[in-house]
Symmetry: C2
Subunit: 181 residues, 2 copies
């Protein structure tokens, strides 16, 4: 149920097409809620049927036309309603833990390499998030309102990636063969 509301949040900040929303997600709400263009298109249509958003067709030169969506009153009301509603705390969901748990039933060295690969990928994401932090929020102490919320969401992404890479390092340290230590 969260994709609808994530789209409402994003469209409340600025109207946009499905394609634009997909790219925005990659850079911000996507830290907490990823989505493909397919899904976004489908959900936008459903939301329009429900009257939460409306769209305007925009003709472009040299590019395909696009549908720019705006939040309607009903959508704003729905978002407010949802924000006040409690949600279930989530649990981690990562296949890597399953692999590690089963490592002794297969090629343990391969699992270890996989963990190193994931560590590198998460470290790269961490670096990307930290670059955004430095560039867009150089003085976090002065923020308030919407900007402060955006910053705190980014902080969540940073903390998650830090913690994951640190865990991978712990695992690699513990499993690296004796000779390599």
């Amino acid at each position: 149920m969260a994709l609808e509301h994530a789209l409402l949040v994003s469209l409340s900040e600025r109207e946009g097409s499905g394609y634009e929303l997909a790219r925005r997600f990659d850079r911000s709400i996507g830290f907490f809620w990823a989505a493909t263009h397919q899904q976004i298109y489908r959900v936008l249509r459903r939301m329009e049927e429900a009257g939460w958003v409306t769209h305007t067709d925009i003709a472009q030169e040299g590019r395909p036309d696009k549908k720019v969506y705006q939040v309607a009153d009903t959508g704003r009301a729905e978002l407010t309603r949802w924000l006040a509603e409690p949600i279930e705390p989530t649990t981690l969901r990562d296949e890597l833990g399953v692999k590690l748990r089963g490592a002794s039933l297969g090629d343990e060295a391969a699992v270890l390499r996989e963990i190193e690969r994931h560590r590198d990928e998460h470290a790269a994401r961490l670096a990307a998030y930290q670059a955004i932090e430095q560039r867009d929020f150089p003085k976090p102490g002065k923020l308030s309102g919407r900007e402060l919320h955006q910053y705190l969401v980014l902080r969540g992404g940073i903390r998650a990636e830090q913690s994951f890479t640190a865990w991978c390092d712990e695992v690699v340290q513990a499993l690296r063969p004796e000779g390599a230590r």
Copy 2:
């Protein structure tokens, strides 16, 4: 695709019924991959059709009969194959980030209370995991093989909960109204 393999890992350690597996998940692999009994029953049946597992009916007194599943050779081979295969690094997926991101479009105080509630829940999980750590792995330096892997998975759960509660605290600190600081 990971539930099948999580079940294979768990059944490789010890045979068991769907019900037992559901409870085991709550205490170990569940840190990384949660599952309901419904899903487990369905997947076990599918796995049996594929020849990965077999079951024995066990009659019990005063309790319903149960189906105890064992891993077959094909299942063992499949698990080994999967363990060597690369998987995609995951991204965080938590509605709470979406709510925080949209907080200024609704009742901000309610969102803050929700974040505090989640912090408490995650802190409780952290405490539960740490209790398991103390009880089952008092001397982690001496572990190796399967036990070491189990311990490291638990460490992943602990780190994730620590990092999440710390993030919630950061958010609460930053958003708490001036007077309350």
